[in-house]
């Protein structure tokens, strides 16, 4: 493990901690409990990966398996975040429970089918299910003309993160030996806590914006 890896690990952990501090500072802990859960899990897993790396080495089998299975745990935490977004968007319609149950069923069935397969493929597919669910949620938000700025930015930030990860895992599946993956995925991990930190710090809970301002003409 070189100095670049240490710097990346340190930056990723620091940004997650900063985001957690932002959520707590803005007193959004109860409303966005799942985000706190995800951030806490990310920090804990980041530290555990570091410890395993120190004890077993970066190229060890135990680090490899821990990395990909902890990644699956983080993805499931992200699904909880997604479910909480669903429940906020559909809260007024009273169908949140149905949507959550359907989404959880989708995740559970895809994980069941994929657990026996190779770790890369499992992560790639879990992230892709996340992309589909986020896209459906974003579609519903546009249709319902959701105007809560903070919620819009949180969902879009998550969408960017999941799409980038699903795409890069798919590409990694096709070209596994490329050196770029060693750094790219770690750098991409900074996006989500950084964009959420910005949202919690700069966008007040009561801020509103028209969905039409956000939707690009190509997707209208």
């Amino acid at each position: 493990m070189g100095p670049v890896d240490y710097v990346i690990w340190f930056v990723v952990t620091l940004v997650h901690l900063f985001c957690l501090a932002c959520v707590i500072r803005k007193r959004a802990l109860s409303q966005h409990f799942t985000i706190v859960l995800f951030l806490t899990a990310s920090i804990a897993i980041g530290v555990s990966r570091y410890v395993i790396m120190l004890t077993s080495g970066l190229s060890s089998t135990s680090y490899f398996y821990f990395y990909y299975y902890s990644d699956a745990v983080l993805t499931i935490c992200l699904f909880f975040v997604l479910m909480s977004f669903y429940s906020q968007v559909f809260s007024e319609m009273g169908v949140a429970k149905i949507v959550r149950a359907a989404a959880m069923h989708m995740v559970a069935s895809s994980s069941e089918r994929l657990l026996s397969r190779f770790a890369y493929e499992m992560s790639q597919n879990l992230y892709f299910v996340g992309v589909v669910l986020t896209y459906v949620l974003w579609g519903a938000m546009m249709k319902m003309q959701e105007n809560r700025t903070r919620l819009i930015q949180l969902v879009l930030g998550l969408g960017v993160f999941l799409s980038a990860f699903a795409g890069s895992y798919a590409l990694r599946n096709m070209y596994p030996d490329h050196m770029i993956w060693r750094f790219f995925i770690h750098i991409m991990a900074v996006w989500l806590p950084a964009s959420w930190s910005y949202t919690f710090l700069k966008v007040p809970e009561e801020a509103r914006m028209a969905t039409a301002q956000v939707v690009s003409p190509a997707s209208r």
């Binding site: 930030g157 795409g167 798919a170 599946n173 910005y198 914006m209 301002q213 956000v214 939707v215 690009s216």
Partner: protein
């Protein structure tokens, strides 16, 4: 075959989510009224800025120390601006009708950068005033 399909679909959704995200950051910054000082720096009297001012504003942001709560999404806007620049070059020969929309979007990026600069100048001015009051 499946990874290739996932890659293509994910790339398309990534593009759409990123464009929407950047537009939401720009739309949110438009709620901020620019100060007279920034208007003077940018040489504008209206609420809109030309996209060509973005590189200069971006350089000024780099010169101005970041303060307070710190977080700003200027890097997301910067990436969006470069994406628009690429689209502008491509659209010149492929879809000329897009040029006007792209120019308006570049102007939005410049406005978002001006807001970041405005906030940083205000923060630094406040810090200087506080420091001066201690002496």
């Amino acid at each position: 075959m499946i990874p290739a399909l996932i890659f293509v679909v994910s790339s398309l959704t990534l593009l759409q989510f990123f464009v929407s995200y950047s537009r939401s950051v720009i739309a949110e910054s438009k709620a901020h009224e620019l100060s007279g000082e920034i208007r003077e720096i940018c040489g504008v009297t209206t609420r809109s800025l030309a996209g060509d001012q973005f590189p200069r504003l971006s350089q000024l942001i780099d010169l101005c120390p970041q303060g307070g709560s710190g977080a700003n999404n200027v890097w997301a806007v910067l990436l969006y601006f470069h994406l628009l620049d690429f689209a502008r070059k491509f659209s010149r020969w492929a879809v000329p009708s897009l040029a006007q929309w792209i120019e308006a979007e570049r102007g939005g990026c410049a406005y978002a950068a001006a807001v970041v600069l405005d906030r940083r100048i205000a923060y630094n001015r406040m810090m200087m005033t506080q420091q001066a009051s201690h002496y």
